[in-house]
Symmetry: C2
Subunit: 249 residues, 2 copies
């Protein structure tokens, strides 16, 4: 597995770390090349880690390959053949942080997580399933309620079969209703012209948060779509958000 890491100059001692999870069809290179986040990571003194989006493995199962190739959704798959390598949730929340802690001078008590699209879903479920592990979470155009998105359900059925209960354990909108833990400090941006808006189900997540009494800052921006110009236009706000919880003022 490849990952990218950005380490600002002139850090003094162990630094906070922000994990970024990319969306489908990306690699560990996409976020670091297209968003200009380094300016803000440098400004706030935050180390940023961007893993690849999936195990680069195919299994020769033609139907599944078409449906799920590269679309890890940052879950731990249960069904064969995907369960062998598609364990991205464990990779992102356990294996990768261990590698980062062992090899870089980070403050393991100060970590946050963010993501885009499928990676926004990954960031939300990582925060929701690990109360207190991440000081803040943010997402650009996240997939919010995959169990209610027919196109995404096709992928989840590759990983979990027809077990609806299992699928709900990986669905941010379902998870938020039973969250118990410290403040999540969630920031979300979505473009009002997002071409995948119908599949993202942001409103379902917003309603579930309200019902559960969980604070979330949701910002829908006119004239922006699902792409990287959207991210680069609001990346400063996301780093500002995380800096409030990661950095000493």
């Amino acid at each position: 597995m490849k990952f990218a890491i950005y380490i600002p100059d002139n850090l003094e001692g162990p630094a906070p770390v922000l994990y970024h999870l990319s969306g489908m069809s990306c690699s560990e290179q996409t976020f670091i090349q297209k968003t200009g986040y380094q300016r803000w990571a440098s400004h706030y003194g935050i180390i940023v880690v961007s893993p690849d989006v999936c195990p680069r493995v195919t299994y020769g199962v033609e139907k599944n390959e078409i449906e799920a190739k590269g679309l890890s959704f940052y879950v731990n798959a249960v069904k064969k053949p995907w369960n062998k390598n598609y364990q991205m949730y464990s990779y992102v929340n356990e294996e990768l942080p261990s590698i980062i802690q062992e090899n870089f001078n980070i403050n393991k008590d100060r970590q946050s997580i963010m993501g885009h699209s499928m990676g926004g879903h990954g960031a939300l479920i990582s925060a929701l399933k690990n109360p207190g592990k991440y000081r803040s979470v943010s997402a650009f155009a996240p997939v919010c309620n995959p169990s209610k998105s027919p196109d995404i359900q096709i992928i989840f059925k590759c990983y979990f079969g027809d077990d609806e209960k299992a699928i709900e354990e990986w669905d941010a909108t379902c998870l938020v209703t039973k969250y118990k833990g410290p403040e999540l400090n969630i920031l979300i941006h979505q473009g009002n012209d997002d071409q995948y808006k119908e599949q993202l189900k942001l409103q379902n997540f917003a309603s579930a948060c309200e019902k559960a009494g969980i604070a979330v800052s949701i910002n829908v921006e006119d004239r922006f779509d699902h792409g990287f110009y959207f991210i680069s236009s609001f990346i400063e706000q996301h780093f500002h958000h995380h800096s409030k919880f990661l950095c000493d003022s």
Copy 2:
């Protein structure tokens, strides 16, 4: 031919325009996706036009294809078969500006030009061969003296044969010695770890400028190479530079 154009919001009346010429292996997409320049174009109210780097044409001449495919160097080729389509100098300085003037609300008396690597060479020769046409010119890691760069000479020989006099007419370091016209307002950045430093010949250009009494701001930056992180780190300075000549204060 494709080009990208960025038009800031909230322009009042005809706006200044800055042309950006990319380096080899790029397309009209590269600069707009990887540098984050939009933030500064928006800040200063400058329209930015980024053409593709070459005619996407091959001629079935195997040897030449390997040597020159895609490497327009923004010159007008003389030798067959390249002379048919490889007329990028005329395209950038005449045809494209006409298209821009006819279709967008630009102030044709306020234009500047910049580029990267091969495109830095294109920007410099465009300014040097058209006194007064561009209010300012800037370059990241430009090819400065192609007639003294053996690897680049191979390409130029495809376009001009062995006519050394002709080649000098497309060489920024040769052109600067006989430049007559208004101030060029040149800004150049190069990374001190640029992997192509030996081919760029920045020192030859600096010496020629000094000899000819032409002012040039040259900045060699430690710990930067030839790539897009270098550009995105200093793009703000380049837009600030051009804004001094393109925009009302």
